[in-house]
Amino acid sequence: MARRILSPADAELRDRYKLKGWVQKPTERRQSYFRWCDTVLSRLATWSRSEDPADVAVILGIQSALMSDDTFTEHVSRKGGDFLTEDANWDRIYRVGSGVIYHEYLVACEKEIWPEEAAA
């Protein structure tokens, strides 16, 4: 089982914003982000002391992509309510969204769905 990436509070936000569903579909988007996960991990591996970079650094790398994807903005704004009126909460929702992507990526790697899916 892939390790836990999100704190219980973050998992609550994930469920409230239905972020798991957003990451999983459509496949094209999911593949773009999973490919980016591969890239981020390989770039960070050149810097890290260990083979596995710290989760927080990977999540921040994913966030760099998520922040410029306005389909994510559309998704969270639609579900958002008052939460996103605070600037700090935008950072939080990006962080949680990136954490969900990374978790899904790890699950796919573990089940050997990825990178096979990319190769297919």
Partner: protein, 451 residues
Amino acid sequence: MSARRIEDLDELIAGIVHDGAEVGRTAERAVVRSGGIARRGVGKPDLQAQLMADLREALADEVVVSRPLEAHGVISEREEHREIAKRALAGIKLPQLRTMAEDLGLARGGRLEEVLDRIVGAMKADEEEIARLIIAYETEPPPERRFVTRLFPLTRSTDDLELVATGIEPYTSRYFKVGIARWMVIDGLQVSDGLLRLRGTYRYYTADAAREGDEDYSLRALNHSASTELRIASRRAFVQVDAKGATASRAAAIALDHASMLSVERGLAFPGTAEGPLFGWDPRTVFMLRLLSSRFQSDQFEVLNLTTAGFEQRRSDQIDGEDMDRPSVHSVRFQGRHLLDSVPACNLIVRGQGFIELNLTLRWSEGDSRLVLPVGIRIERDHITVATGFGLCPPNAVRVAHRMVIDGVERIYAGRDHGEAAVHQLARDIREISQSGQTPQHARLLGSHEA
């Protein structure tokens, strides 16, 4: 070589952030082409600079980073500034730092340095803001930021302070030996406003043997002194001592014992409880619970959070001549939040351990003024220590609150406060948590309101 240059790190981050943005836009275009919606202009903030700073922080932890020297200093001034802020915050215990992070809207997890980095980053290393945070969140302030009074019980109270003063008068400007190389000098006394004040100086030596070369042996002694103030109020059960440390306070109490008609009890005497939900509990625990449930849940005081709870095995339960090889725990100290709602603390209470120390955040209200203060109470063998931190409040106002806390402690000790229903309810709740073995999701016994 394990160190890396900061310039290389910045290049790596710039590459990730640049290429990441392109990946995001590509993903967006693909989804829009297939009928998805992208929304712009909804007031989302520009977080790129913060993201880069966060990445720099996360990756700088991974390896040793070397930075170029600055023109006028060895270490980057910004880095120094930031590290000093972290060092100052590190004086606060990690659970309290986590609370601080959470209150600031930051993640509370991670190691000490990660939490510190997050807080200092959010405050942009602003010294003034960080100093305010430290003072607001410290639960056990250092001596210079708190009033500390030790309460020693008298064998009997008095309502004739003038008579007591007359008895002490001949001993002013004289001293008593109160221990090995320890003396207490009575400097002067004064009776006014129903209070007798006895000023003194505690003088003592620390000494040790020294050897220089093969043959030269000598004793090295260092002379120390500390001023003390002892106060006796009419018809009160305790004498109050303000001094630096328990030893100096005890010396002042011993001097009073020698010089006056009043005697200080050798130990504290808490009444036992014969029946009800408090049955079988350590009398010191019952005292603390009475204090929490009545004096500190009143119009004047409200417990916001209980952050430290210290327990000690009853002395009578510590077997004399106990097998020295047999493992045993005689005292334990919990730190956290809303500790009275936690199963471990409730278990110790129910099992009869003595609840001898607490630190809490207390709200004190009088008239229009409301102060949030860190307060500590500790029961020693022969006295009770009451410490009230200044928090962010002016010391003069805190002094009044400190006196009110002392008054509450005295009233409970002397049995002058009757809040039986409240303490019985609290005891029943503690038994329930202990029996259920489950810490409630939300604090409910005390301190369920945040500041």
